[in-house]
């Protein structure tokens, strides 16, 4: 038993396919997680990140089927993510409806809408061939994972430093951090608290929409587009932010961790291991639950996270 477990670990660790699959999941998660990170730094626990991803995934797939143009399809995915985020932002940070009620409703609504529309405009998926970086691509084990992905995956390379720059090197980012930590202070300093929060949610929507588009066009699943394609990856992105202690670096490490567990579920059967399919499928979520339980300490989170701001209440 122990010996077989050890050999399984050995097989997994030496499997090139495993690294490649894990990296793809990690990158898709990272798009959403970076967006979520910004929204949470502004003080919104934005659970509708899932809906934003679904919107991006479905519209990208439809757009690709219609125009046969990957960049355009991704752009449409981004826009759809922003559209969903506008709904969240307006309801929770303008009309002051509870952000969780809005988020939960939005998640169910967009999923249902995508399933419904799928029966009319069929979504097509996944055709971008991997781009192989010469030489580097031939590195053992991780060559394929890091240098042999379909090109949309590499969009994460500019997105991450841009997000960091936006949050830590611009006035907008400073204001975003201030409204997430102490909205009353930000208000008396002359900052439009809810406007900044809405904008941060829109950035999250754009990132998540892009993540959804990359998910369907980057050939992650073996099957084509399915209604439930996103499969709670947005929620896992939230767990990654918590795991990362609301730092960008930690969030990315969280994405790699969760990407790994998503990959296990795909790779283990390929490697010839029989594992209960339901258990394998639930692995990332079990890990996410454990991670949030362990890492969700109050010291590191933005102090006003998930607290609505109404002017005059101090």
């Amino acid at each position: 038993m122990i010996a077989s477990a050890a050999s399984a670990v050995g097989d997994v660790l030496s499997s090139e396919a495993m690294y490649q699959s894990a990296m793809r999941f990690a990158i898709v998660l990272a798009f959403a997680a970076v967006g979520e990170w910004i929204a949470e730094r502004a003080g919104t626990l934005n659970i509708s990140i899932e809906a934003m991803m679904i919107g991006g995934a479905y519209s990208s797939a439809v757009a690709w089927g219609a125009f046969d143009n990957v960049p355009l399809a991704l752009l449409i995915g981004v826009l759809m993510g922003v559209v969903v985020s506008l709904v969240q932002a307006h309801l929770s940070h303008q009309l002051s409806i509870d952000q969780f009620v809005v988020g939960l409703t939005l998640n169910l609504f967009v999923l249902g809408l995508a399933l419904f529309l799928d029966s009319r405009w069929e979504a097509v998926t996944s055709v971008v061939k991997p781009t192989k970086v010469p030489l580097l691509h031939d590195l053992p084990l991780v060559g394929e994972a890091l240098f042999g992905q379909p090109w949309p995956m590499y969009l994460i390379v500019p997105v991450v430093p841009m997000a960091w720059w936006l949050v830590f090197r611009t006035r907008w980012g400073l204001e975003v951090r201030s409204v997430g930590d102490n909205p009353q202070s930000a208000d008396v300093s002359g900052i439009h608290v809810n406007r900044r929060r809405r904008e941060a949610i829109m950035v999250a929507g754009g990132c998540a929409g892009l993540g959804g588009g990359v998910l369907v066009l980057g050939q992650i699943s073996i099957a084509g587009y399915e209604g439930g394609h996103v499969g709670l990856k947005g929620i896992i992105a939230i767990a990654a932010v918590i795991f990362g202690g609301w730092t960008l670096r930690g969030t990315l490490i969280g994405c790699v961790l969760f990407g790994y567990f998503f990959a296990l579920q795909q790779t283990l059967p390929v490697l010839g291991y029989r594992i209960n399919a339901q258990l394998a499928a639930s692995l990332p979520y079990i890990v996410a639950l454990l991670v949030t339980a362990v890492f969700a300490t109050r010291t590191r989170q933005p102090r006003a996270l998930a607290q609505p701001f109404v002017r005059g209440l101090t």
Binding site: S185, V188, I191
Partner: protein
């Protein structure tokens, strides 16, 4: 008369007939106010007199219903703090406007509209700091700074924008006496050398008399009186502030006026001091003979790696009032929480008459006979949406219930009884609690806690936000409670309140007791040193 004979200076700001209503409540009623360049203008008034609302109008956080604001002779409309900043109005807020997670320079930059430039911002912070002698490290996180340093950051934030008008709202509430003194020195500088206009908002007579050139006294939303500081006397100011003759001595706590009283006629003072001394010695000896009721022994409380209570030990004897002094945020809240059964200790114990509490269990402290007037009566003292009667029986609901059902008749009878005893002004026992005035709300909390005949009464900031009459009532009740044999622990950040009520004083700093004084040996200076974090051995060593 104002301005008579003096050189006519154009006011930096002029408010005319400013009125602001919140529903039926009039916060400001036709207020006229002029701030002159090169002057510190004290705005004095009780809580709720309309001082803060007036300042919020100047800074753009509140829009007036009527009246005009003129800056340098030109009428302006101040929509928001950003507009105010552009017009040259800066404010140091009572509850500071800083973001703990950001660094000093980031905070200083926050709310600016100029280009975002890190190195330029840091340089400006250091330049401003140097110019005013307010030394600060621009890269420290504000969350790591003491209250005094935070206020320094706030001042720098204001001054960097070169304001023509600087407003300070109750600036000394978070400061030690030494820090307050330094603040006033800086203000003098700002005013005299740079011809800025400064508005100093305060309810403390002593600091208004000490640090201003001109005084406007507000009462119930109106200007009650104006005078030049050199012509003002403490009793006259107190009278204008409250609207009736008041004894500064008995109300020292309310006016922040302990120091003023000590400056009375020296001969009279010596006689009085002698008499007080003799009296106090007898009382103290008597008290020392009484049994220790409440004993907190090496209480230790950690949260997220931060030590909040650090081997804290306090004993309170029957019939004495022990005052816990300290600058806000040094463990007072945690001490109150501990005695309200809200936290579980990581070490040490709390016992009443020898019975040790199982800390952390809901109600464990109440079971031992500890009654608590909590720091924030809205947050943890009562339920605003419930009736007065319900709030009065809230914590011991079993006493008015039969077989799990509330006996409303009994509950109301009990409420009527307590309302009479504690003179609670309300429409009746069924009136919603939220409809009561602050003073009456506090009486409800007091009545509930004393109604159970506790052996220990903990009063945390019991007079915060109350007017003079309510403060007087509360002080008398606390004294009476002690005289009836209850061990009273008074936790307060108002030094005057501590000095006026306590027979023994312990000083908290960073969650630990750094000094304990008998009331007789406690002077403002000595307490001031302790509040600054100088331990008792060091302070006596320094004065020797």
């Amino acid at each position: 008369m104002e301005g008579a004979g003096a050189v006519a200076l154009a006011p930096a700001v002029r408010l005319t007939g400013v009125t602001k209503r919140y529903g039926p409540v009039v916060a400001c009623a036709g207020v006229d106010l002029e701030l002159l360049p090169g002057e510190v203008h004290g705005i004095l008034g009780e809580n709720g007199a309309g001082k803060s609302t007036l300042m919020k109008i100047l800074i753009g956080l509140v829009q007036p219903d009527e009246g005009t604001v003129e800056l340098g002779g030109r009428e302006v409309v101040i929509h928001d703090p950003q507009t105010a900043a552009e017009l040259g109005i800066g404010m140091v807020h009572q509850h500071l406007s800083l973001v703990e997670a950001l660094t000093v320079w980031e905070n200083v930059l926050l709310g600016d509209a100029s280009k975002f430039d890190r190195s330029a911002a840091r340089r400006q912070v250091m330049e401003t700091a140097e110019h005013y002698g307010l030394e600060i490290d621009p890269d420290r996180r504000v969350g790591e700074l003491s209250a005094g340093l935070r206020q320094r950051v706030e001042l720098i934030k204001c001054l960097r924008r070169d304001p023509k008008i600087l407003i300070l709202d109750e600036p000394t509430s978070v400061l030690t006496p030494a820090e307050s003194e330094q603040l006033f020195t800086t203000l003098r500088d700002v005013v005299a050398a740079e011809q800025r206009a400064v508005a100093l908002v305060s309810h403390k007579l002593a600091e208004i008399l000490h640090a201003t050139d001109r005084i406007t006294i507000m009462r119930q939303g109106r200007v009650a009186e104006r005078s030049r500081t050199v012509e003002a006397t403490a009793p006259a100011l107190a009278k204008a502030m409250v609207g009736r003759d008041v004894s500064l001595r008995t109300n020292a706590a309310a006016f922040g006026a302990i120091d003023l009283i000590d400056q009375g006629d020296p001969a009279d003072q010596a006689v009085r001091a002698e008499r007080d001394e003799a009296e106090a010695a007898v009382v103290a000896a008597d008290r020392a003979a009484r049994p220790v009721v409440l004993s907190i022994d090496r209480a230790r409380l950690m949260r997220d790696g931060v030590t909040l209570l650090d081997d804290l030990s306090i004993e309170v004897r029957a019939g004495e009032i022990v005052g816990v002094a300290g600058v806000e945020g040094n463990g007072q809240r945690e001490l109150g929480d501990l005695l309200s059964s809200l936290v579980t200790l990581d070490g040490g114990s709390v016992s009443v008459n020898g019975t040790t509490a199982r800390t952390g269990r809901a109600g464990c402290m109440a079971d031992l006979g500890i009654g608590v007037i909590p720091e924030d009566r809205h947050d943890s003292g009562c339920v605003l949406d419930m009736s007065v009667a319900e709030n009065l029986v809230l914590d011991r609901i079993g006493s008015t219930a039969r077989m799990g059902l509330i006996d409303r008749k009994r509950m109301r009878a009990r409420a009527v009884e307590l309302m009479r005893e504690f003179d609670i002004q309300a429409a009746g026992p069924d009136a919603p609690f939220g409809s009561l005035s602050g003073g009456n709300q506090q009486r409800v909390v007091l009545a509930r806690e004393l109604g159970h005949r506790p052996t220990v009464l903990v009063a945390a900031q019991p007079t915060r936000g109350l007017d003079v009459g309510a403060i007087e009532y509360m002080s008398n009740r606390l004294r009476a409670a002690a005289e009836s044999g209850i061990a009273v622990l008074l936790i307060s950040t108002e030094l005057e309140e501590i000095l006026a009520l306590s027979s023994r004083i312990v000083v908290l700093s960073r969650g630990r007791v750094i000094g304990e004084l008998d009331r007789r040996e406690a002077t403002s200076e000595r307490l001031g040193l302790l509040l600054g974090g100088v331990g008792i051995d060091e302070s006596t060593g320094a004065s020797a």
